[in-house]
Subunit: 114 residues, 2 copies
């Protein structure tokens, strides 16, 4: 029944397992970005999903959306403090990846390597 007593990790995992969530956070760690710019930085996320993730992350208070002008459209997405703290997680993943994923091209596309 329980199998997993309630703990915040569960929620966090639930949060982070979204398709592009981690990629978005990671890209955003480099600094604020516009919508399309972020989309390109993330590397091939379509606007629909990107918007969905962004909305979710904003609602959770991890990112901040700032509209500079409605017309011409100018918006920037930025990590809120709680979002910046995800750096630790990204960092841990990074460390793990560097240790255990030397070169695993067995994932999918990304032919732009090297």
């Amino acid at each position: 029944m329980d199998a997993a007593e309630y703990c915040p990790v569960h929620d966090a995992i639930q949060l982070l397992q979204g398709k592009w969530t981690l990629h978005i956070v990671r890209s955003l760690l480099s600094g604020p970005m516009g919508f399309n710019e972020l989309g390109r930085a993330v590397g091939g996320c379509n606007p629909a999903t990107l918007k969905a993730r962004l909305d979710y992350l904003e609602q959770l208070g991890l990112v901040t959306r700032t509209v500079h002008s409605f017309m011409p459209p100018r918006t920037s997405y930025e990590l809120a403090p709680s979002g910046v703290d995800l750096q630790r997680v990204i960092d841990a993943i990074d460390g793990w990846a560097r240790e255990h994923l030397p070169e695993t091209p067995a994932l999918d596309e990304s032919a732009a390597a090297s």
Copy 2:
């Protein structure tokens, strides 16, 4: 620009963003488990998805599948060393969650006014 350049983090994120992957690893950190046992520990993952994730993780060398007997079926899944190292990641997530997700019993669209 970035994100196009090959980096292990990208792959790692790709790996970990699967629906139940992190949950599985987390459950497996407590020790080896059987298939159904693991399924229950993870908390509501159907066998098809579970098998898919397990196969993927095994193929990547993160978990080890040991068949003790064919009939009656007795199998145990265990984290390989590289899988155990994911403890760090889970840990980071845990730390973050405890700091920034104090108590969110239902994380759907509840506007946390904070």
